[in-house]
């Protein structure tokens, strides 16, 4: 796990392969030490609202962007999104949905709940790597956060 002060991107993803591929894609653009991974929705919520060691408001860790999968064990991605966008403290954090689902209802629900972007993971690794690194580059480096 990465050191707290280095956290720039929060990746919420349960598939270990996708985690590794995402980290690899980010590493190719030198994001390697700035990614925190939550393996399910509960862990993601714990990061923001829990009593664990990752309580973001105590440690001052503010991810520049949250990459959120939709199909997650325990608490699903849409619920995580609803909680994040429903809380005054986390509402301003950019959330990018990164998922396999191209289902129209999923896309509509995500935007309705306040998702900042919605990306369908490509099968092809090169396309996937490009998508992930573009997202990282844009939200973690180019985009000016609200604080």
């Amino acid at each position: 796990m990465n050191a707290p002060h280095e956290v720039e991107i929060l990746l919420v993803e349960d598939d270990p392969n996708d985690v590794e591929l995402t980290l690899r894609a980010l590493k190719d653009r030198n994001f390697v030490n700035q990614v925190f991974v939550a393996r399910d929705g509960a862990e993601a919520l714990d990061f923001f609202f829990g009593d664990g060691k990752h309580r973001w408001h105590e440690t001052g860790i503010v991810p520049r962007v949250i990459l959120l999968d939709l199909k997650l064990p325990k608490v699903d991605g849409l619920e995580v999104l609803r909680r994040l966008k429903g809380d005054e403290r986390t509402r301003a954090l950019p959330v990018v949905i990164l998922t396999s689902s191209r289902e129209e209802p999923d896309i509509a629900a995500a935007y309705h709940l306040g998702a900042n972007s919605y990306i369908v993971k490509p099968v092809d690794f090169e396309a996937f790597a490009r998508a992930v690194s573009d997202v990282g580059l844009y939200w973690a480096l180019l985009n000016e956060p609200p604080h």
């Binding site: 598939d15 392969n17 996708d18 590794e20 591929l21 690899r24 396999s100 689902s101 191209r102 289902e103 993971k121 490509p122 099968v123 092809d124 690794f125 090169e126 996937f128």
Partner: protein, 355 residues
């Protein structure tokens, strides 16, 4: 003699005894029999129209039987009117006898039919089953993508990180893994497109198919700029349908024509239309490798291929997609070909843009 005359001379009221010597009773029977006759004659017309327009309706013979039986009933009421003034009771009896036969035939035929009919799925059940199938194939397609991404991604990482350490044969094998992952990805994407089609609503509008064919052919030609290809786009009657879906039809049919004329110099591809028994038949014709008509029935099935992957690439979804789009437009698609002498694909559109 007519009713008016009868009113004037009540003594000559036809069937005066039966109708209590009251013109009102006679009039009531006359009007009612007339209305019954007319409606009994109109119902068979509706039934026959229905079975002729819905050729796929199951047990269509029972509708014919109903039509004959109801027409017979109408005729018996017509005879009721006729015999008011003409004592053709033998004829009236004969008409009744024929109607009796038709009615008992219908009644008997219904007995074994009812248990079968009651088992027919309702439109709601079919729609629900279809929806279930759609969402099933859709989620399967999505869940298939994740492992595929891992296969492709890790093979790629292996090639990048350890490619130098691998023997040439190992590198080739890695390439085979990646090529097959890409192929599987293509299959899934095609399947997804096919599945999505069932759910997309058709937006019907006038479409210039010749212009559409011209743009599609130009795009396809750019991909094979080095090949000698003569494309002829003839002017065709205006069509009505969903532009983006009809574009898919042309991409697949013209794409196939481009693909299966590989090696022909020059390749000749024609898009055109002809009138056939009152409907417009559009066609795409090529002078490519063609196929054996013995396998024509397989042509439009999903994942059905008539050529080996080494000869001609493809997933076998294209023509299934074409058929689905054409059918959703209320049309038909078929093909004619001979081995090594080219193929022609024909399709019609109802113009209604039916769902």
């Amino acid at each position: 003699m007519n009713l008016l005359l009868a009113r004037e001379t009540p003594a000559f009221l036809p069937h005066g005894y039966c109708y209590l010597w009251q013109p009102g009773v006679l009039g009531l029977h006359l009007v009612s029999d007339t209305v019954i006759t007319l409606s009994y004659y109109s119902i068979p017309v509706g039934l026959v129209w229905f079975v002729r327009h819905r050729r796929d309706v199951p047990f269509d013979w029972i509708f014919w039987l109903f039509a004959i039986f109801i027409a017979g009933c109408g005729t018996t009421h017509l005879m009721e009117i006729w015999t008011l003034w003409h004592p053709d009771y033998w004829l009236a009896g004969a008409v009744k006898a024929v109607t009796a036969l038709a009615s008992i035939g219908t009644a008997v035929a219904l007995v074994p039919l009812l248990p079968k009919v009651v088992k027919l799925p309702s439109p709601d059940q079919l729609a629900a089953a279809n929806k279930e199938l759609e969402s099933f194939s859709y989620s399967v397609s999505h869940d298939l993508r994740s492992p595929l991404r891992a296969i492709d991604g890790f093979a790629r990482m292996l090639a990048e990180d350890h490619g130098a350490a691998l023997a040439p044969d190992a590198q080739r094998q890695l390439g085979v893994i990646r090529a097959n992952a890409a192929r599987m990805g293509q299959l899934i994407d095609d399947l997804l497109a096919f599945s999505r089609l069932g759910r997309k609503a058709i937006e019907a509008a006038p479409v210039d198919l010749a212009e559409l064919a011209r743009t599609v052919a130009e795009e396809l030609r750019r991909e094979v700029a080095d090949r000698p290809i003569e494309v002829a786009i003839e002017s065709v009657p205006p069509a009505r349908g969903d532009r983006s879906l009809l574009r898919q039809v042309l991409i697949n049919l013209l794409g196939n024509a481009f693909k299966f004329t590989r090696g022909r110099a020059p390749a000749r591809i024609t898009f055109g239309a002809r009138r056939d028994r009152g409907e417009t038949v559009y066609y795409v014709r090529d002078n490519g490798v063609g196929f054996d008509m013995a396998y024509a029935a397989k042509l439009f099935g999903v994942f059905q291929r008539l050529h080996r992957a080494e000869e001609f690439e493809g997933t076998g979804v294209g023509l299934a997609l074409v058929q689905r789009i054409v059918r959703r437009h209320g049309g038909r698609v078929w093909a004619e070909a001979r081995v090594d002498e080219g193929a022609s694909f024909y399709f019609t559109l109802s113009g209604r843009g039916a769902a």
